[in-house]
């Protein structure tokens, strides 16, 4: 297939990762293209809970904690630029966030786990406060009687992930970047130092290619000498109708959106590419949410859905440049909102410059090969 059109950089995937990388490369203008699938696809970006979450992240890979903190700190800049360039307010709030523990046992485990996390060599420490029931109740009006306590981290926050996705696309579009929907990539063919993407909508040529196709990366990566052994992990979400504002800050599994709706998440199930809902899981989620905020009992559920997280074997992101095809990069993670600012201000510029700096080395997929003894 001969490409009908060619670009300097092709980003494969129009989800949160691809859109953020695209936004970070928007100064390329018309030399940039985002290549995306059609209307029905496994789109984690549509099922996102919307947290910008730091606390608890990085157990087993200290640099992931650092990377997450960096992105959270850069988030106000990202939200400001998006507002300026598109007029879209992505409803960023970083008032800190709370992980609620229903029992004393849960709280003790949580505190111990956070201690172990922060004791890791090379871990960049941040403040975490532990609240007992009274401390938590003073911050969360309407808290259920049998909640034992929780942990608070001031770096945590949330935004509206659908507005984020739209704003990233809108800004890239305004800067002249191209977008090709309905172009699911079936094959990437290296041509010298460049690439031809064979897609459902015709071939596209590119000097550099960024694999940001979520679960699709698993199949695409080997075509350019990369490895992205990602698997789906199902999460279910419940959305309640708009209710008067009662939550000033996000909890890890319950948050009130800027629109007033309440999101309840999130379950984790390894069920393959299954996006169907289980009533038992929804029931368990609902029951747990009611123990935290009993007053939500009468709120109407307007929607529930399942989406697929993009999970690597150890749960951490994969960022890597191909050794055999140096114009090819991969970016994949399950925290497209939290890490959006990192993708915009660190990953995308590195792609533009032609190579990933040392700080990305811990995220190379080589770590799985070492672990497997390959």
């Amino acid at each position: 297939m001969t490409p009908r059109e060619s670009f300097d950089v092709a980003v494969i995937g129009g989800g949160l990762v691809g859109a953020a990388v695209g936004f970070g490369l928007r100064s390329l203008g018309p030399r940039l293209v985002i290549v995306d699938e059609g209307d029905i696809a496994h789109r984690a970006a549509r099922g996102n809970f919307g947290l910008i979450w730091v606390q608890g992240k990085g157990m087993g890979l200290a640099p992931y904690g650092t990377w997450t903190q960096r992105s959270a700190r850069d988030w106000p800049r990202l939200a400001g630029e998006l507002l300026r360039e598109t007029g879209i307010d992505v409803a960023l709030g970083q008032p800190g966030g709370i992980h609620v523990c229903l029992t004393a046992e849960e709280l003790a485990q949580r505190v111990a786990a956070l201690e172990a996390l922060r004791a890791q060599p090379g871990f960049r420490r941040y403040a975490v406060e532990v609240f007992d029931r009274a401390g938590l109740a003073s911050r969360l009006p309407g808290l259920g009687a049998d909640v034992a306590g929780g942990t608070y981290c001031p770096l945590d926050g949330h935004c509206n992930p659908l507005k984020l996705l739209r704003a990233l696309h809108a800004a890239t579009f305004r800067a002249g970047g191209a977008h090709r929907a309905g172009h699911a990539v079936t094959r990437i063919v290296p041509r010298g130092s460049a690439f031809t993407l064979e897609t459902d909508g015709g071939a596209i040529g590119a000097e550099k290619v960024v694999l940001a196709a979520g679960l699709g990366n698993a199949a695409l990566a080997p075509m350019v000498g990369l490895d992205a052994p990602v698997r789906p992990n199902q999460g279910q979400l419940i959305v309640l109708e708009r209710v008067p504002r009662f939550l000033a800050l996000p909890l890890e599994t319950i948050r009130q959106t800027d629109e007033g709706t309440v999101l309840i998440g999130d379950s984790r199930q390894d069920v393959g590419f299954d996006e169907s809902l289980g009533p038992d899981v929804l029931a368990a989620m609902a029951a747990r949410a009611l123990r935290v905020f009993p007053a939500l009992e009468a709120a109407r559920v307007v929607r529930a859905w399942a989406a697929l997280r993009v999970m690597s074997p150890d749960g951490f992101p994969i960022y890597e440049q191909s050794a055999t095809n140096p114009g090819a990069f991969v970016a994949t993670c399950h925290s497209g909102v939290t890490l959006a600012a990192g993708h915009v201000y660190a990953f995308a510029p590195a792609v533009a410059a032609g190579g990933l700096p040392e700080s990305f080395r811990p995220f190379a997929a080589r770590r799985f090969a070492m672990r497997d003894g390959r």
């Binding site: 059609g38 549509r46 696309h169 890890e252 984790r268 899981v281």
Partner: protein, 478 residues
């Protein structure tokens, strides 16, 4: 509580009543669920505050009573005041139906397992997006029927009806019967359509509903100013509707109005089938999605059948016939009768169906609303739940949304409590037009539970499972 029924019939209109009756007579353990407090569905039963409307002009009381009697004697289990909010296919091939039942203050929820499903959820009002259509005082036909039945109406208010289709005229009659005058009936049926429909008119003239409709039309015309070939319809405020502007007979006119009822026909209620995963297809004559069904009403999912207007709007006579045909197919599929007995028993309902469908092609052609009334522009509100305009949808497409679901993710249309019932078809057609693709390619919203709202408390009252608890109790660190 944990018994497995052979068949769940959803909807107690003519299709559902007949289907449940026939199934029970063939010794199928049958349960019938309906939102309302009594059988009859939207045609024979009382109107409800839901979005659904009575799609047909006829409704002979004697036959309705006979249908209900036959159902009551059939041995099928009726569950009224029962909202079906979820449905799914299990890995073992059984279907689970999530039902909330009982009085609103003390509803219980449960999951019922069944071997087969007949969806007989009927039709709902087609979206009618016009400028000002989201103003207070603009009602759907269903809203208006609720108003007529359940509340005191201020007779000094000025009512205007606008749109097309038999229900609009039926509604005008109901207003007149209730002693309420109408300022005008604005008929938006387009002149061109009537000529295009002419080849099908002979069949229609022989159709059973024709004379009834004709008489009703004459009676309304005697007492109400009827304005034909209306285009450019607009409701104007500011705070609520105060006047209706429209174009007719070559000029722009303004009528004062306190309430404007908009109705332009009904379309199948496809939400439950969509949630289950049945495939649907765009019907270009009727400009709506319909489930893909075989000659027995069988959907693309084994054991799931669709009967009545939910399978394609055709009125109550067709609904009864289709209900019977689908029930026979289920009886055969579950081994109660062999294929021969099924085919023999289906001869009469098939003949009835042919008779009922006579003239349908004419109605379909005449009633297809003009493009301008289906595909709005500019700041006309498309999605009322989230206040999304036609321009918002077009902008989302220009940003790269290539189908209804990406538009939904970008602008939230279809995310409100109505689950897209008010905007789904409009968004599909807007996307199709903007992307120059077919409505099938533009697609329809992927619908989610709950099909109809339930409360968090009701959801929490469902049984959990150890696996579910493990899935939800979060790992200590992420």
């Amino acid at each position: 509580m944990n018994i497995v029924y052979d068949l769940a019939v959803i909807g107690a209109g003519p299709a559902g009543l007949v289907a449940a009756t026939v199934a029970a007579r063939h010794a199928l353990a049958t349960v019938l669920f309906d939102d309302q407090a009594a059988p009859g569905g939207q045609i024979y039963g009382p109107p409800t505050a839901g979005q659904n409307v009575r799609p047909e002009t006829q409704g002979g009381d004697i036959r309705d009573a006979a249908l209900i009697d036959a159902f009551r004697q059939s041995g099928a289990t009726p569950v009224f005041d029962a909202t079906v909010w979820a449905a799914r296919r299990r890995e073992d091939g059984l279907y689970e139906i999530g039902v909330a039942y009982g009085a609103p203050e003390a509803r219980s929820v449960r999951i019922t397992s069944v071997r087969a499903v007949i969806i007989a959820t009927g039709a709902l009002g087609r979206p009618f997006p016009v400028p000002g259509g989201a103003l207070p005082g603009v009602l759907t036909a269903a809203d208006a029927q609720v108003l007529l039945k359940t509340t005191f109406i201020d007779r000094t208010r000025r009512f205007v009806l606008a749109g097309t289709g038999p229900l609009l005229w039926r509604l005008a009659s109901q207003f007149l019967d209730a002693g309420i005058g109408l300022e005008a009936l604005l008929d938006t049926t387009s002149r061109g359509r009537q000529w295009r429909a002419l080849p099908a008119a002979w069949d229609f003239a022989r159709a059973p509903n024709f004379l009834r409709g004709l008489a009703e039309g004459r009676a309304v015309r005697r007492r109400v100013q009827v304005i034909a070939n209306v285009t450019g319809l607009e409701a104007r405020g500011p705070g609520r509707v105060e006047e209706v502007q429209f174009v007719a007979a070559g000029g722009t006119h303004v009528l004062p109005a306190d309430l404007l009822v908009l109705h332009q026909g009904v379309v199948p209620d496809i939400n439950l089938g969509s949630v289950l995963g049945c495939a649907h297809r765009w019907n270009d004559v009727r400009a709506c999605f319909e489930p893909i069904v075989d000659e027995w009403g069988g959907s693309t999912l084994p054991g799931v059948f669709v009967a009545g207007d939910a399978a394609g709007v055709a009125g109550s006579d067709a609904a009864e016939a289709r209900g019977q045909i689908a029930a026979l197919a289920v009886a055969n599929a579950l081994g109660r009768i062999d294929a021969r007995a099924r085919d023999v028993a289906a001869v009469r309902p098939r003949a009835a169906l042919r008779r009922a469908l006579r003239g349908q092609a004419f109605l379909d052609a005449v009633q297809r609303p003009a493009d301008a009334f289906r595909i709005p522009r500019g700041d006309t509100v498309v999605c009322r739940c989230e206040v999304v305009t036609a321009q918002d949808v077009v902008d989302a497409v220009r940003l790269g949304a290539s189908g209804s679901n990406q538009v939904k993710a970008f602008v939230r249309c279809g995310m409100g409590p109505c689950q897209g019932r008010f905007c789904g078809l409009t968004v599909t057609e807007l996307v199709a037009q903007e992307c120059r693709m077919s409505p099938d390619a533009a697609g329809y919203f992927r619908l989610r539970w709950p099909v109809k709202p339930i409360t968090l408390g009701e959801l929490a009252s469902l049984p959990s499972s150890p696996e579910a608890d493990r899935a939800v109790a979060r790992g200590m660190l992420s």
